[in-house]
Symmetry: none
Subunit: 243 residues, 2 copies
């Protein structure tokens, strides 16, 4: 269970720290735990990494390398926006696979501590967005789009990490992802028509709107008998004058 193998102490320290950090569930990891698992004594740690934070920075840097490798791993599909989706999904998956590392990387960033990781991650996404921009698929600057998408990506990942592993609903991710990509892409048609605002209650307005929409759509979510009764109730609500 320990790294007493033939690897150099520096590597053993890195692996021991990474393993303990990954299984710590947020509890602090002591240098004594790390050095014991690595099979070395305290001064070795300080010789190679300066101090505890230096070691943890090295762990984070290694984790980020892995992150970057994952983001570059897939072949371009020829559809830049589709590649952005895969980058997003890779990002979320990385966070869910290594939550503790991810929390250190993106959940605890202060202006004085690690701005480079964010900048590098932004550059990674901007690079991909440049292709979309070149294809005329972007309606904002790639840099701004990258920052915006990455921010949403981080927020979603943190929210999913915060949820118990059992009830994580990845639809939050896909929904937010598509919302962000849709918002920055240029192939959207905006026709914001004025809403009719009568004096009737919102229930009645909504019921009328649903009624009209249902009649025209031939939805097959309800059986014909269900639909008949549903429409009757809808009619009752639509014609009510209360509220």
């Amino acid at each position: 269970m320990s790294f007493d193998g033939q690897l150099p102490p520096k590597v053993r320290l890195l692996r021991a720290a990474a393993e303990l950090l990954a299984n710590s569930a947020g509890a602090p990891v002591s240098t004594r735990q790390i050095t014991q698992l690595a099979g070395v004594t305290a001064p070795t740690l300080y010789h190679h990494f300066g101090d505890k934070e230096g070691l943890f920075d090295a762990v984070v840097a290694a984790g980020f390398e892995e992150y970057v490798a994952g983001e570059r791993d897939f072949a371009p599909s020829g559809q830049p926006l589709e590649d952005i989706r895969r980058m997003w999904d890779n990002h979320v998956q990385f966070g869910l696979n290594q939550p503790e590392l991810y929390l250190v990387m993106f959940g605890n960033i202060r202006p004085e501590s690690r701005p480079s990781i964010v900048a590098d991650a932004e550059a990674l996404m901007e690079e991909m967005l440049n292709k979309a921009a070149a294809a005329g698929q972007l309606n904002v600057q790639p840099r701004e789009a990258a920052r915006s998408i990455l921010a949403a990506n981080v927020g979603v990942t943190l929210m999913l990490i915060a949820e118990p592993a059992g009830e994580r609903n990845l639809e939050l991710s896909t929904m937010t992802r598509d919302a962000m990509i849709f918002a920055v892409s240029s192939d959207q048609g905006r026709d914001a028509g004025p809403e009719e605002d009568s004096g009737k209650s919102s229930v009645v307005v909504a019921a009328i709107a649903l009624n009209a929409a249902l009649q025209a759509s031939h939805s097959d979510q309800l059986s014909s008998s269900e639909l008949k009764l549903f429409l009757e109730w809808l009619h009752r609500i639509s014609n009510s004058s209360t509220n």
Copy 2:
């Protein structure tokens, strides 16, 4: 500089911890610092809060109260989506004003530590989105929209906190904010992307609106058993295009 006033020790401890945490710049805050500033000794802290984390939890809880108060402070404008924008901006401003507190609240959430803060914040936004849904301005379920918007809101705020205070570009916030709101609102064009079929049909939008309106109005046009079945069908229609 110290809280040696007439306030009870419990309050003095809370204020001392909050102040030290706010100015710590991420460095750990020791119980000795806190008790010294509060003018008490160690056992007093442990008598009132159990342990250090208990005290910090209390500080976070107080901070969250302040957050909620800020989110409720403004009068409804009558335009729900505009109110969502103000909630978003309040959230960002809260994070930038108290970055250390914010990082503890939203940057470090683990499944075992503080899920309730996220749930409460989601409920706060969902409440506001229900009004938008009732007005027919939403094309997704309010709960899903709230989770998605809040996730992006948190991500943006963390990114801004990570930047040096001088070069914080709030355009990242407004851009992401409007992108998210635009994506969940119904007054948009069609065609969400290469793989998605065109946006939600008007049936779904109307059904979501009616659902939200019914929940808020206590209409008595249907009996309770009728209403139950009606809502079930409505739910089926509302979710018909979500895979």
